[in-house]
Symmetry: C3
């Protein structure tokens, strides 16, 4: 079986079957990174371009390692403000890159929808590695893989997503993903960070963190962008932390075996206390490990499986 | 057959036979990038260093992809203003890099002649990826390859090169290359951008774009460095575009089947209109594709074929 | 035989046997870089992360080339001031990188002891590529390899290390290494650059360069950090050069066949004259070549030989 699409642009457009296919494939790739020789020849001779318009050590490294473990050639392009490419339209950049015959372009961009435009311009595969506050599909897939690994299922679980929902592509992709697989999702955050009408995505919303945590199986904390604090979405960090930071006391509202996720990097003592982040139910590092597996699976399903068409 | 030289520093010093050898070799490598497995083992175990003193996403990426498709190891070094290497003489940088036993150094530098100095300092191959306003030989080779692909020949063609001739290494390399292969070249640009005595390179020169275009087979537009506009080589961009920008109306002066080239990135509506850039005779994307093939061929002829000596 | 440790953090903790094992292994890898096909399959499927918190073209390139010639996958991470990773604790960065299952992290950091902390946080191998003014073990190993190559031995040699001893991790690692192998080491520099109590490391110390050079077999010059000059460790560069710069006249104090080392990049005419740097007894470029061999050996002994456990 394979994905009947050339691109991974968002979770919104994926069916439950497609998500499950990616997760199942990722499960089979997980053991590659646990081997001594962490390499399969599947994508030898394929070229992956990591085109990052926003700096991201972590996500870029995960995609680069995933590509190399599949034996693909990985080429990194960081588009800083000073780059010549900046003067070009996205369409021209896209067409020019395509002319070098990559098999896949992984793109991160500050503007929502940019990967979708790129995918329309090129014949090769495009993977959205984060577009503005819109989607970050590989993050949601690794989150679902991590929950499935520990809980054995997604369906029927209660998931709470806490933090700056308005600006979070991670929240958006996860709302789509977890609800598509039959979980129920509640988002919580200060009124300034809860977009009106978010319930239309299929989740519940509340400004009361404790209410969101009640009897939940999964607690997903979002990173607070401290650099955004000057825009004053909440009075002080201390106040944010008191109301919306996760600590052991608040965690008691959740189920006793509730697992904790965070996309990283974490702000210790702000949105999550160290005792919770390092505690027995934290899956934060499993997420990172699963990130490589999910990206290997996505490369495989978009590029490799095509051979068997 | 092979190149009897260790370096590719400029087109000026190449014979017609050498240029033809590179183009013929590039033609045979072109199909590698059209395969599913875009990789040949020819340069396995060879090390290519991309040493860029000027930022260049596009050219560096093309060389990196070419090296990797030949199975060479590619190492990128960007020398920014802050780098320690900056305090070193070029000779010391050269000798130190050579001591790590690369097979080839690809260098871009703002000063004309730097690659030639480097080639004198090291025993490994050196490829000039652009030196000031002097030469950019791999660009001219890919331009010739592209024209030959569409026209079936270079000899006897009329070529017009339009724009800032004075500051263009692309123009200079192409004047050498196309005239060497028997084409006739006319350059055109505003008086402030036409270097006196340029005819000594074997071309004609005019400030009248229409005259240059008359009955031409190939129109090569150069990129206007908008950032150079503050030096005021022409009154306004609008005026430049009116006099020296290519649009469909001006293109009618050329032969009906004239092809359009541009080294990219293009400034749409400045030196070239979108209708021409995206039109049926535009070869701009073919140039990019041929760039990878030409660079694979140059690596092969400088490094790989040596084995058969 | 193999190293019974997972990390290379400093020379201080290495026994003479361990140093000798690394040097002997490096000797056997030296010829790989002299082959036409500079590649062995030993570390195929292993992942090496180069994590550089300080910019270093030279050392990073040497580690990257060494990894690739061992067939490992190399991933570069440059942590600039602006990086998101900066907001993270070292422990979180460490754990996150480890979760991607690298086999080795090569780290350079401005703070002494950072690689040791990193090594405590992760199960994979850690190599110190320079930590503040503390240690730079692979540099000392390549220095010892270079001396051993020319002199046939280390034991019984007289070694003079000249320059800014206080701020030099190169000096510190070499004092440990050469004395451990039975050489006698004298350090010399201006009083402001000679740390009190340095003799506790097993060397002699003097402010008189000529005294240090007397009858020495090895002269190791250190790089003067010209950018540190504003802190005024000596009145003028000219005065430093007159008192502590190496030229042919001063070199006459050493043995007639004394060899010259410098970790690079050199400041010609400051700490070393061109006639000496380029003279017949200069081993500066041999050091660079041996740097790749030593790093291949360290990768092999930390990662590859483990398979034979």
């Amino acid at each position: 079986m394979r994905l009947k699409r050339k691109d991974l642009l968002g979770i919104e457009e994926l069916s439950a079957e497609e998500i499950t296919l990616i997760l199942t494939t990722a499960e089979s790739f997980r053991e590659v990174s646990e081997r001594e020789i962490k390499k399969v020849p599947t994508l030898r001779g394929r070229t992956v371009i990591n085109l990052f318009y926003e700096p991201s050590t972590r996500t870029r490294t995960s995609f680069e390692i995933a590509a190399k473990r599949m034996s693909a050639d990985a080429v990194n392009i960081s588009v800083s403000a000073s780059s010549v490419v900046k003067g070009e339209t996205l369409k021209d950049t896209a067409r020019n890159l395509e002319a070098m015959r990559p098999d896949c372009i992984v793109i991160r961009h500050a503007s929502a929808g940019t990967p979708h435009m790129l995918a329309g311009y090129v014949g090769c595969s495009v993977i959205n590695a984060g577009d503005g506050a819109h989607e970050h599909p590989s993050q949601a897939l690794l989150d679902m893989l991590t929950v499935k690994e520990k809980k054995g299922r997604i369906e029927g679980l209660k998931v709470a997503i806490i933090g700056d929902i308005t600006h979070s592509r991670v929240a958006r992709s996860n709302i789509y993903g977890f609800t598509r697989l039959g979980a129920s999702v509640t988002v919580a955050g200060p009124p300034t960070m809860l977009p009106p009408g978010i319930e239309a995505l299929g989740c519940k919303a509340t400004t009361n963190m404790e209410a969101a945590l009640k009897d939940t199986d999964v607690v997903m904390m979002l990173r607070i962008q401290l650099e955004r604090q000057k825009e004053s979405f909440f009075p002080t960090i201390r106040e944010y932390s008191r109301l919306y930071g996760l600590n052991e006391e608040k965690l008691r509202k959740a189920k006793p075996d509730a697992v904790i996720l965070h996309p990283g990097p974490i702000n210790r003592g702000v949105e999550i206390s160290s005792e919770v982040a390092d505690g027995p139910y934290s899956l934060i590092l499993d997420q990172v490990t699963n990130g490589v597996a999910v990206r290997m699976a996505v490369f495989y399903l978009l590029l490799g499986a095509a051979r068997e068409e």
